[in-house]
Symmetry: C2
């Protein structure tokens, strides 16, 4: 099958073997989305080698439980050992022995077929089109913030970032009636969210970014700051923006270390809350009931055959979600 | 009066003016303790200039409310504006306009006299000797952890550090019946706490420290890690030691930035909880009821006249709490 592999360099394989792992379902992929994590893996993040991709919608073509065959599905990306206490409680996201689709010791979704256990699959209601369903995984990651932090109406919340994940986070937060400020660099991306926030702040990336932001804010600070910039520059910006005893949700993962002064975290008793994958249920519900719109985030839809070009397109500063269309969807 | 000042360099002044600020009490200092923050200020932390010192016990010698004169007292170090909502709620610790005794825009306790508002003073029961009372401020900072994190019996907790603050934290945690591990570098300091912990791990500071610790731990990880090493090397050590979805309490403040990879904080959904000053009530109660022992932490008791020597003594690797004895206590 065709597949986008990373083995130190990104390449399109024409004859990757179709692998259905023992006891797992074989899923024919329809669409897959390129995430910032994929771009970071290509820079060396997570040390992954294999077929990339973890955001997808597909159709089950083989499974022991034959009732699943033909179902349109998305998939939880963490495959746990199914034996530890975390897995047995139904949450494999932090299983220490987990593999992760397209990220850790498991081939991913940028291919014609992928393998996942049935317990990882979620059937998609007919109300959700393929082009929306592919957002369920990242939207669940956005909704995870709401599972971790109690956000009450009127609470002042800032989102740093205007990229793919930040866009979904803002859409998920809009339902909470919090007092939302979006802080980002790209006018075209900020415009997509301006109706959802009380305040939108654009800044230029340089050594005076923070002063530029504070000048527009009038020195007010936030109860909660969501760091979703995808860059190491986001957290040093988030720390001075949060109130004493406030919280920062850390969403960004990237390749490398950065120089950080955490003194103000101790002195101001700030909490930094790491946040990763979420449960799919809330994301499916939001999309099935048309409570949020994601289609406008698709900046390119590119055939798997042109996968290398799709990665290039995804790194362009103005780009948002680049979808790969698989042969089965054409 | 005699006072230990820092103005870019530490010096003993023989004729510093006695200043009683308007509306405040004048306190004759009896004993004062040298804290790691004082050592960091001398390295440039917080940009402070003036009389150092914020841990003390003293006696009120002048005050508008004459009933306070003669009282033996300790003092909350944060002096708020007394007008903002934080101050009016009785908690000036995070007032944005606060001054801080010996740390921020307010002369401190390494002197014969200091000035503080009556609302910052706490009378000390006769049951607490001067040499114990001087630990109330740092012990309150240790107890603040218990106010921020619910620690239940059997919870696995590691304290990184064996210095002055770590010693008090371990003493405060011992009452919680948690499953406590202490991780430190100095055998003599670890020995002082060995009866309070289920497990004591000594390591050598080098690039293999973490492997050395994991070898002794048998790869187990903790629900909660308290980072009280006072050094930038503590947090990068704490992150791999905590379980997924666990928490790190960040107690250390130091001068400078460090290179940090926070990817695992996001991926493992770890919480980092900044922690600083605490309420004095629990600390006073612990000491008044002899529920914890602190006297063994005094490694030197040095006259104010020998203050420069006291700072030298406090920087020695084997040193714990160095107390300055003021002329009024002699």
């Amino acid at each position: 099958m065709k597949a986008l592999r990373f083995d130190g360099r990104l390449q399109l394989s024409q004859d990757a073997p179709v692998k259905q792992l023992e006891g797992e379902a074989l899923v024919e992929v329809l669409y897959a989305g390129i995430c910032n994590t994929d771009l970071e893996i290509v820079k060396g993040y997570a040390g992954f080698q294999g077929i990339l991709g973890h955001e997808f919608v597909g159709r089950v073509v083989e499974a022991e439980e034959s009732s699943w065959v033909g179902s349109r599905v998305v998939g939880e990306i963490n495959v746990g050992c199914n034996q530890c206490s975390l897995c047995l409680s139904g949450d494999a996201r932090h299983c220490l022995k987990r593999t992760v689709l397209g990220i850790k010791q498991r081939d991913g979704a940028f291919a014609e077929y992928l393998s996942l256990p049935i317990r990882n699959l979620r059937p998609i209601p007919a109300a959700i089109a393929n082009e929306d369903a592919v957002f369920i995984e990242p939207l669940a990651a956005a909704c995870q913030i709401l599972a971790q932090v109690k956000i009450h109406p009127g609470m002042t919340v800032a989102v740093i970032g205007d990229g793919k994940l930040a866009q979904l986070i803002v859409r998920a937060l809009a339902s909470t009636k919090c007092d939302l400020t979006i802080i980002g660099k790209h006018q075209n991306k900020l415009d997509l969210m301006s109706g959802l926030a009380g305040q939108v702040i654009q800044f230029t990336a340089n050594e005076n970014s923070l002063q530029e932001i504070f000048r527009q804010l009038g020195n007010s600070r936030f109860d909660l700051v969501i760091e979703a910039s995808g860059s190491f520059s986001g957290l040093p910006m988030a720390i001075p923006l949060v109130k004493p005893c406030g919280a920062i949700v850390l969403k960004s993962t990237y390749n490398g270390s950065s120089s950080l002064d955490l003194t103000q975290v101790a002195v101001n008793e700030i909490q930094i809350i790491g946040s990763r994958c979420g449960r799919f249920d809330s994301a499916i519900e939001l999309l099935a009931n048309n409570r949020i719109e994601v289609r406008s985030l698709i900046s390119d839809m590119i055939e798997l055959d042109e996968g290398l070009h799709a990665f290039e397109a995804a790194t362009a500063p103005q780009s948002l979600k680049v979808l790969l269309r698989m042969p089965a969807a054409s």
